[in-house]
């Protein structure tokens, strides 16, 4: 008995016990909740706080993939994460210093050579001028040879797919940037106050 008219009629005729009505209500409630969940567009809110080449990937991979799944996505870029919205991303770097999990491998040469994990102590990596540039170049080269998209590419796809990019205005002021340093596709310049209500309604919220 799932039809409202049916239960009403049965109720008027005095043929429905409280237990029966409770059962009817629970079933109908469950059915409607399931329907609602099926029709709902999932949503995701990310907070991107890091601006290095390695940490630039998670927000853009998650955002572009979620958008491809038809999800509604917004990202709040704050502190160093704001740098991911700069017009020019070519100076984005990764540092092996204080990053013991980072493999130091060469993107060229025969396989046995590529598989060597070069042990570079912090004292060396931190003191050789240009070491960071070299490590960043190697990472970009490795990603390219493995068919991983560049940050520019993932960012462009995210924008094309309708991902909302929110930029933290306070960070702009603190680090002495101007809005002109950043891409034109930014949805809004705002603060935590306007981002939190969006995040509060999201199914997935991640801090990266």
């Amino acid at each position: 008995m799932n039809d409202l008219n049916e239960i009403m009629a049965a109720g008027q005729a005095g043929n429905v016990s409280k237990a029966e009505f409770d059962k009817w209500f629970d079933e109908r409630f469950e059915y409607n909740m399931k329907k609602m969940a099926e029709n709902k567009t999932p949503s995701m809110s990310l907070i991107a706080t890091k601006g290095t080449l390695d940490w630039a990937y998670p927000p853009f991979i998650l955002a572009s993939t979620a958008a491809a799944l038809g999800w509604k996505v917004s990202i709040f870029f704050t502190f160093y994460g704001l740098l991911l919205l700069k017009k020019d991303l070519s100076d984005m770097k990764v540092t092996p210093v204080g990053n013991p999990a980072m493999p130091m491998k060469m993107p060229f040469g025969p396989d046995w050579f590529k598989n060597i994990n070069w042990p570079v102590p912090n004292a060396v990596a931190g003191n050789i001028p240009g070491f960071e540039n070299m490590a960043s170049g190697l990472m970009k080269e490795t990603f390219k040879s493995k068919g991983v998209a560049s940050i520019e590419e993932l960012r462009e796809i995210s924008i094309d797919e309708g991902v909302e990019l929110h930029a933290c205005q306070m960070t702009v002021d603190v680090f002495g940037f101007t809005q002109d340093d950043f891409i034109d596709d930014i949805s809004s310049w705002c603060g935590a106050t306007s981002f939190l209500p969006t995040a509060g309604k999201s199914d997935v919220t991640l801090f990266i």
Binding site: I61, T65, A68, L69, G147, V148, E161
Partner: protein
């Protein structure tokens, strides 16, 4: 036996591309296709077997088949 309507209208080669590019390119390709037509997608990403399944389940596109041939993975997807 392939029936006429299952013959791919388009083919997308994502060999050499890594996660999440095969999914993103598939999504883009499907967007420009007509409902009911079939896309054949070839990937070299071992993760794509699971990923295409999840992609189709979430977006409502029909995953007609997925198979592995050597180092490549072949999918037939019917646009929803």
């Amino acid at each position: 036996m392939a029936i006429a309507q299952d013959i791919p209208a388009r083919e997308l080669d994502t060999i050499g591309l890594n996660c999440p590019l095969p999914i993103l390119k598939t999504k883009k390709e499907l967007k420009s296709m007509e409902t009911g037509t079939v896309l054949k997608m070839i990937s070299s990403d071992a993760g794509s077997l699971k990923d295409m399944e999840a992609f189709c389940a979430q977006t409502g596109h029909g995953l007609l088949s997925s198979q592995q041939e050597g180092n490549s993975y072949i999918f037939h997807i019917r646009k929803n």
